[in-house]
Symmetry: C2
Subunit: 345 residues, 2 copies
Amino acid sequence: MPVSRPPTRARRGRRTTGSLTLTDVARLAGVSPITVSRALNNPDQLTAETLSRVQEAVARTGYVPNRIAGGLASSRSRLVAALVPTIASPVFLETIQALTDALDAEGYQLMLGQGGYGEAREDKLLDAIIARRPDGVILTGVMHSPEGRKRLAAAGIPVVETWDLTPTPIDMLVGFSHEKAGAAVAEYLLYRGSRRPGIVSADDYRAGLRRRGFVEAAARGGVTEVPAELVPTPTTLGAGRRALAKLLDAHPDVDSVFCSSDILALGALTEARARGIRVPEALRVFGFGDNNFAADAHPALSTVRIDGNAIGRQAARFVIDRLAGRPIPQRIVDLGFKLIGRASA
Amino acid sequence: MPVSRPPTRARRGRRTTGSLTLTDVARLAGVSPITVSRALNNPDQLTAETLSRVQEAVARTGYVPNRIAGGLASSRSRLVAALVPTIASPVFLETIQALTDALDAEGYQLMLGQGGYGEAREDKLLDAIIARRPDGVILTGVMHSPEGRKRLAAAGIPVVETWDLTPTPIDMLVGFSHEKAGAAVAEYLLYRGSRRPGIVSADDYRAGLRRRGFVEAAARGGVTEVPAELVPTPTTLGAGRRALAKLLDAHPDVDSVFCSSDILALGALTEARARGIRVPEALRVFGFGDNNFAADAHPALSTVRIDGNAIGRQAARFVIDRLAGRPIPQRIVDLGFKLIGRASA
DNA sequence: GCGCCGGATGATAGCGCTACCATCCGCACG
DNA sequence: CGTGCGGATGGTAGCGCTATCATCCGGCGC
């Protein structure tokens, strides 16, 4: 029964990328591959002499380990994903920066995903992210679809939600109460004598919470109607100008305005000046975020300070602690906020 | 010679993560693993019937492919790294956003690295990035160490440098000439009658190029001395205020100021107003970047428009084309800039 | 009817690392 | 002097995919 096909089953399988590998370094150093691996990941397991032999070989070859391979072998990608609606709105920048820095110090790299403000896009992005098997996911201002939340939970990846305090977090949470922040601003303005407060606000979810807190506190203070002008996200200085213009045109008696972001507030200040309205005498302007320009605006902007940096650091700590197997005593951290009274209100 | 250790050599090698794999899906769909792989990556290689069987199995299990494994097998990580000095300065945001969007559409994910403005940090970051074997690297405002450039080139990864036009790019380049931009602003201001121009500028490399272009053009116009006030990166509104204050205190006769960023210029406008200096009558203020607040400032800010979005898109196209094996006819793209004359100058 | 072609599917062998033991060796102890 | 122990190093077997053939099968030309 002669077989027509050649008995040499040869050359199935693979190519070979020809790139420098750990094995090459091991050969040069005269040790086994696993020893090189240890030299890179657990240097204190080796004797000083072995270690320096390996390090010299690494330096001589210019070897850079392949963490894709390492990730596959160890199921640790050392990647952390951060999902934001859009990076173009600078609200979360400080948080992202702090996050990147803290992660970097521990050898993690940040993967950035922009989900936009739509659920379909978010869910698609989520699959792309999960496919990379990040060791952690940081959510800021995104992921409200139940389907997405379920997939995330199912993936078994540590999740940190930020910039809000929701009653039922997927996993871990660091933020503050938007409603309380809104309420605090309303109380501040009424206490300062405002009798006719108005609102200029982005139309996103959290800004809505702040609005609600503001309106309810105003009601408690005897102000039953609070006119509001909404603008699309992301907010701009120009949007703030135009929104204040519309608000004042419709309600000339408004004597204070709570803006849902500092940049909107800066727009409001600009429009007030252009119209010759004196701030704060005729109009009090209150911002949100305490961005780095708030204190130097003219007049200096009263605002709500959110420590975005601390949020980023806490989010990183959550992920790092979880991955190190350390217990997480507090899975919900309220970082609060602070009213900063300056000249504008 | 009895052996004390059990002859069952059993259980070396591996654990088993217990997670859902392509093989599980294949079993459920009644096909081979490779067919599932094809269904996900080259769906048109399969018959409609096979494809839908696989897709149903994927949907039923909620399977998400592991691209870490895929990346190792194919040497394609589908990750692109973007390195910036810091994300906190919003200069590159538009570029990063456009980049992320364009990459996302092609199935690539962005990895973000913040190199700071120091070479040591940059080089360390670079190794962390290369270790992830990105399919491309986008550089904006970083990586000037020869050592780093060499390592990048050696890694054989497509590299796109952006936001500048350097004579010897590592690989591909998209940007504009900072010197020409500075020169154009100087010519504009002199043409408008400024006889005593000054500069408020960040102390980074590119801002330095713009400064040089400005000073040289001013010299050609007969202005031999241009006082300058430098501020650290990243720039802020407050830094702009204080820098203009210092500039005017030292040189009260300055009648125009070129700011190296719009936010500095906004600070200059603010300081001018606080001092009762009329803009543009007594002081012309020129910005750089045409950020989204420039047109709505009061007075509206004259500035240099850079299409950061186009830069991001071109950078993505470079990487994508290169990875698709398409020829790159033009490895250096000059996107230019545009002077936007508004009320402030 | 046979060989051939091309499209669909499958078997096999890695990609470059690390987890999991196993082994080796020197030393303290009984 | 054998035994046990612990620290350093090594061998092996995958991690979950995909590249590279190989195979199968139906249809077509001669």
